[in-house]
Amino acid sequence: MELLTLTPAQKKSRRGRNIALGVVLFGLVVAFYVVTLVKFSNGMVQ
């Protein structure tokens, strides 16, 4: 099997994209969690 070797620039940009994607996904998880709490608490109040 032939393998590709990434240049340092490609590795750096891939790492940056991975971190950004991770931050976005984590943010979405937190947002959905908090929104669920808010919606539930509003429902209880009503």
Binding site: L4, L6, T7, A9, Q10, S13, R14, G16, R17, N18, I19, A20, L21, A31, V34, V35, V38, N42
Partner: protein
């Protein structure tokens, strides 16, 4: 994540392209400066709207509107990559600069569009989500794909896309559309032509080189300058309508009237500018002031509304 694309391979068959695009390049696709204006006007719509929205839900609404606006920017950059590469103002954008492939930008824009609309619908309400979806469609398809390259009235009609955010913000709180939110829409809608035509005047050669029929290239400088004055007057008038309709105070009305008069004064400066002026200083001044004008008008509307709310609350407490 290593983006490998063998469709755009250069050289022999089977060659692959390893992306060096950074997260910042993808962020640039979202047109952050336009996004900041969208966030600001959407926030104004939310603040002005009668009723209450939970801060968390309000934050999610603003985030979705911002991402939706960014997604339409990415779709715009995908479609306009050919002309962006020629114009000095846009040549360094991620696609013409070779950092991101057009296909990547398209996928990025479509994904963010779908996510922003769906999340806004599920978390806030489906009217605001529908308006956001329409805004993205209007900017990407009606303006970018259809109008931009076919008529000098492109930014007059296309300006509607940039004017929808306060209406979406309003709909997020109230679940409806009302006269007040239409007035907020009209402020940005009527402001867009003088703002963009001022830019088009001093970037005329750029637009001419790529065949985009902007008003100065097609109808000439004189017609453009007259149109700028007409729209500046209309913008100044619509700026004071919130007071006339009773949803802003007289203090705001006076402030908006003064700003409107300055806006007209700058537009008259452009009108007096000699034909073929190389420096186009009055046009540059009008362009800079137009940005300040919009921020000032929406800031004033928000402050005015907050002061009125606090005043009312203090009155009740007494």
């Amino acid at each position: 994540m290593t983006v490998i694309d063998n469709h755009e391979a250069i050289g022999s068959e089977g060659a692959v392209r390893l992306s060096e695009a950074t997260a910042r390049d993808f962020f640039e696709l979202l047109k952050p400066r336009v996004m900041s204006l969208v966030v600001f006007t959407a926030l104004a719509g939310m603040v002005m709207a009668p009723g209450h929205i939970h801060p968390v839900i309000g934050f999610i609404a603003i985030l979705c509107i911002a991402v939706g606006a960014g997604a339409s920017g990415a779709l715009n950059m995908w479609y306009d990559a050919d002309i962006d590469a020629v114009m000095t103002r846009t040549a360094s954008r991620p696609i013409p600069a070779g950092k991101i492939l057009p296909g990547e930008a398209l996928a990025f824009g479509l994904t963010l569009s779908a996510f922003s609309v769906c999340i806004l619908g599920v978390v806030v309400n489906w009217l605001s989500a529908g308006l956001l979806a329409f805004t993205i469609f209007f900017y990407a398809v009606i303006y970018t794909i259809w109008l931009k390259r076919s008529t000098p009235q492109n930014i007059v009609i296309g300006g509607a896309a940039g004017a929808f955010p306060p209406m979406i913000g309003w709909a997020a709180v109230t679940g409806g559309v009302s006269v007040e939110s239409i007035v907020l829409f009209l402020i940005t809608f009527l402001w867009t032509p003088p703002h963009f035509w001022a830019l088009a005047l001093f970037k005329m050669r750029d637009y001419g080189a790529v065949g985009v029929p902007m008003m100065p290239n097609v109808c000439g400088e004189a017609v453009t300058k007259t149109q700028i004055v007409i729209y500046a007057v209309l913008t100044a008038i619509i700026g004071v309508v919130p007071t006339a309709l009773g949803f802003a105070s007289t203090v705001y009305g006076v402030f908006a009237a003064v700003l409107g008069l300055i806006f007209i004064w700058y537009s008259l400066g452009v009108h007096r500018m000699p034909e073929g002026d190389a420096r186009m200083l009055p046009a540059k001044k009008l362009f800079a002031f137009s940005i300040l004008y919009l921020f000032a008008i929406f800031s004033a509307l928000m402050i005015d509304h907050l002061v009125a709310t606090l005043w009312l609350a203090a009155g009740k407490a007494v």
